[in-house]
């Protein structure tokens, strides 16, 4: 026996085409704050989802309080006193806080002595007490739709406490909070630890770890890199480990040969639907034959930058392509002017999953000849065009151009989008997270194509969360942090550590 409350030994979890966790072993002591650090897609959430019973590991064992457990469902995890606050809250909007907290385990009472009913009054009191004890003040009678995001998070925490959870998992808890709210949350987390709870904190924000965590496991591409004592380790060391020091494969890259200016963005501002400024006064140029790569942690305005250039969202400031102002143009006008766009979300944005491959490969040209004459579509043209791209770009599909795209693998879906966008022969190509979720072979394939487009004299805007991808492809690197372009520099003049520091906002020019 030992004093570890949670032990995960040699955990491996595979998803089609990707190893999410590769032989990961961690041990967590009772009463500590244990952080799990890693980039997007490093396998943090997958690892914790297995502890919470949402997935079962392919290999490896989980021990809770020294006893081997097979956690087959979140309900079973709850029985083991494991609770999780998800990144996206799971609350019923038009129920009160109390109703949400007791949902699924309502305390029964007898109304008028015989009618079964839910004892809301008694629980209201109980929850008010509970919230006071942990400093999580809420009004139990308020409805979820009436309260703010940070209060909703408190409700999620109270939900775990009400169920007497001992092991609390927080999945990126600060992603939705303001700096003040983050301070407050971290205080709560400390408070919970002091009252004997074990906390697991999934995050990619170093400062938070430095502030509250006792120990920290670093995951990089599914593998456990190191487990560190937070007090004695610097943030820089952690950042380096998280990004991964060694780069496994180098893509062959020829000398850049810049031509004329293709894209020019100046003073670009974007506000999201809530009116919050997400891109702030961003300016840069991209020349023909140049890969301009934007690095940054997810949610710092990069996706909005790409959408604004493609015309999918409103922006202010000026955008010009080949010397012509395009800021007032529609998406189609911009695309005809010469913008190709490989969006981040290939299934939600880049493809119509219920359409055939052939129809998807013509998604931006369907209205032109030979696909369409006088408003009538020519299905043969779709099939011929589709087959051509399938052969040229090695897109694997069950029934050729007639395959429903939904049935294809993620890698082949991405190949289809890239093929479609490349053959439109645009002056500017925007790639957002082009290799997300793909396996090594597919990644290399996409990288080769990006480079060959550059060598053909295209201007390329590459937005990626993978620092390694940025370093190996970029001619020029720009780093975004909280909507601002922190720096723009030639690729050779920055080390990956320096880029990482700009990404974390811990370094300024």
């Amino acid at each position: 026996m030992n004093d570890y409350i949670v032990e995960m030994r040699h955990i491996t979890k595979r998803f089609p085409g990707i190893v999410a966790n590769d032989d990961v072993s961690i041990s967590i002591k009772k009463g500590e704050i244990y952080a799990i650090l890693g980039e997007n897609g490093a396998g943090k959430s997958t690892l914790m989802s297995m502890l919470f019973g949402m997935y079962e590991p392919d290999e490896g064992e989980i021990f809770i309080r020294g006893k081997r457990e097979s956690i087959s469902s979140p309900a079973y995890a709850a029985k083991l006193n494991i609770g999780m606050v998800h990144q996206h809250f799971k609350l019923v909007q038009n129920y009160t806080i109390t109703e949400n907290i007791i949902l699924g385990m309502e305390p029964k009472s007898r109304f008028l002595g015989f009618l079964p009913s839910v004892d809301v009054k008694g629980t209201n009191k109980k929850i008010a007490e509970l919230s006071k004890r942990y400093g999580l003040e809420v009004d139990p009678k308020k409805k979820i739709e009436e309260i703010g995001v940070s209060t909703q998070q408190r409700v999620e925490i109270l939900k775990m406490l009400y169920r007497e959870a001992e092991i609390l998992i927080f999945d990126e808890p600060t992603a939705v909070l303001t700096p003040q709210e983050i301070e407050f949350l971290l205080e709560i987390i400390r408070e919970l630890r002091n009252s004997g709870k074990t906390i697991i904190l999934i995050t990619h924000k170093l400062e938070e770890i430095k502030k509250v965590a006792d120990r920290c496991a670093i995951l990089c591409r599914g593998k456990l890199v190191d487990v560190l004592d937070v007090k004695t380790t610097s943030t820089k060391t952690m950042a380096n480990l998280m990004v991964g020091r060694e780069i496994n494969f180098r893509t062959e890259k020829t000398e850049a040969n810049f031509g004329e200016k293709v894209l020019s963005v100046s003073g670009l501002d974007v506000r999201n639907d809530d009116g919050v400024s997400v891109v702030k006064d961003v300016s840069f140029d991209i020349k023909a034959g140049e890969i301009f790569a934007v690095a940054g942690v997810s949610g710092n305005g990069q996706e909005e930058l790409a959408d604004a250039i493609a015309g999918l969202i409103k922006s202010s400031g000026s955008i010009s392509l080949k010397g012509a102002d395009i800021s007032e143009m529609t998406v189609r006008e911009r695309s005809e002017m010469g913008i190709s766009y490989i969006p981040q979300d290939r299934q939600e944005v880049g493809l119509v999953l219920d359409f055939s491959l052939g129809e998807n490969l013509a998604l931006k040209d369907y209205y032109k000849e030979p696909f369409c004459k006088n408003g009538i579509l020519h299905h043969k043209a779709f099939l011929i065009h589709g087959q051509k791209l399938i052969d040229e770009y090695d897109i694997r599909s069950g029934q050729g151009a007639k395959t429903q795209v939904r049935s294809m693998s993620g890698g082949n879906q991405q190949k289809a989008i890239v093929a479609r966008e490349i053959i439109s022969d645009s002056a500017l190509m925007i790639f957002v997270q082009p290799t997300r979720g793909l396996d090594i072979g597919a990644i290399e394939n996409i990288h080769r194509q990006i480079l060959s487009e550059r060598d053909k004299g295209k201007a390329i805007l590459l937005i990626s969360l993978e620092l390694e991808e940025i370093i190996s492809l970029a001619d020029t690197i720009g780093v975004m942090y909280s909507g601002e372009m922190q720096t723009i520099a030639a690729a050779g003049s920055l080390t990956s550590n320096q880029v990482g520091e700009f990404m974390m906002g811990v370094r300024s020019v």
Binding site: A310, L312, T330, V331, R332, E333, S335, Y341, P343, D345, E348, V349, G350, L351, V352, L353, D354, F355, E359, L363, K364, Y366, Y367, C372, G375, I376, L377, H379
Partner: protein, 394 residues
């Protein structure tokens, strides 16, 4: 723990899943299965009333002119019954097609009744009460039907596009608004003192040739039916083979992708509702100026609501809709005769129609259960195979 199921043991179930599980034919087999289920349920109902369900179903077919009756009144035979069934089938086809077009663009057009009523009323008071000859009046009635319905439909589409008002809410509300406004005008200007409906339109302007003497018979000939069947093929062509259809489908399946592909989402929402409304308008004029020849104030046609279920029963497919419209019309038309032959109230036949519509709405659920059962059988086979292999090793 789930009880381990032995999915392979039951050959009946396996055969069943094999038939329904073939995805290629599911568009056809699942509605058929739903209909069989509903007929079984209806049989139980009839048996519990002490009636023979077979006689009941036969009299439904007889009443709608698909099987000969035992005896006919003077100048009536199976053909006259069949024609009068076609007379009400015509607006049903148009209305169900209207639902289908909107559905393809991801819109739920529940306001068919309103989109029928408006052009029906306008055509009645302009052309219907005029002295125009048939050759001029009939095309005019059709044009008013198309334009009037399209106008109401695009208003709903525009409200959604411009103000983000859910089409279900706006179309229901507009149903009432139009119904009351039109009732006001009928009651004040066009009322027939005896029937308490709007005055009858002139026979020249009616899309159904009523009481025509032909082959020694007296029958109604619905001219609109000549257009209804081609309309279904036209809708199919529109959706499958034209740029407009391609854009509507992209908008219906994935709005974000539509926007990304440079498709004007708002324009297509208005367009889809305009086409849907135009078809509903045709349903309206073939209903109010065809099947009937006057408008009852303050009544929204139930056909406009039934058409939603008819569309779903036909899997929202234009050709499927031809068949589902036929089925529902046969039952509702034949119900009169059924209630007299087996001596049940007419409500019973409405109940049967209701059962069919209810079961047809379960199509997605049946599909879901079938695919679950398919997975179960596959897993079970895999498990048995693995066990056998292990057994071999031992």
């Amino acid at each position: 723990m789930k009880k381990p199921k032995n999915a392979l043991k039951n050959p009946f179930r396996r055969g069943f899943i094999a038939i329904l599980g073939n995805e290629k034919y599911q568009g056809f087999t699942i509605p058929l299965f739903a209909i069989i289920l509903s007929l079984l349920a209806a049989s139980l109902l009839l048996l519990s009333l002490g009636k023979n369900p077979l006689i009941a179903f036969r009299s439904l077919l007889q009443g709608s002119g698909l099987l000969p009756k035992a005896s006919y009144a003077a100048k009536k035979n199976i053909l006259t019954d069949f024609m009068s069934m076609l007379n009400i089938l015509t607006p049903m086809i148009f209305a169900a097609l209207a639902v289908a077009v909107a559905l393809k663009a991801g819109l739920f057009n529940i306001g068919i009744s309103g989109q029928m009523l408006v052009p029906g009323f306008i055509a009645s008071i302009t052309v219907g009460y005029s002295k125009l000859p048939a050759a001029a009046a009939l095309p005019l009635v059709l044009i008013i039907g198309i334009m009037g319905g399209a106008a109401v439909g695009s208003l709903i589409g525009w409200l959604k596009h411009r103000f983000n008002i859910n089409e279900v809410v706006s179309s229901i509300m507009l149903n009432y608004i139009f119904s009351y406004i039109i009732s006001y005008f009928i009651n004040t200007n066009y009322i027939d003192a005896v029937s308490r409906q709007s005055r009858y339109i002139s026979a020249n302007t009616r899309l159904t040739l009523a009481n025509i003497e032909l082959f020694g018979l007296k029958m109604d000939i619905p001219l609109g039916f000549i257009l209804a069947v081609p309309a279904a093929f036209l809708v199919k062509f529109l959706m499958d083979k034209t740029r407009v259809g391609y854009e509507l489908k992209v908008v219906g399946l994935n709005k974000k992708a539509a926007q990304y592909a440079g498709i004007n989402v708002g324009k297509n929402i208005v367009m889809a509702m305009a086409i849907s409304g135009a078809l509903a308008g045709l349903a309206g004029v073939t209903y109010y100026l065809g099947n009937f020849n006057s408008i009852q104030p303050r009544v929204l046609s139930s056909l406009g609501f039934d058409s939603i279920a008819v569309c779903l029963l036909g899997n929202s497919h234009p050709i499927g809709i031809l068949f589902s419209s036929l089925l529902i019309t046969v039952i509702s038309k034949g119900s009169n005769y059924m209630s007299s032959t087996i001596n049940v109230p007419q409500e019973i036949s409405q109940l049967i129609t209701g059962l069919i519509l209810l079961f047809s709405a379960c199509g997605a659920y049946i599909k879901h259960r079938v695919s679950l059962a398919k997975d179960e059988i596959r897993d079970e086979k895999l498990r048995l195979k693995q066990e056998n292999e292990e057994g071999d090793r031992v």
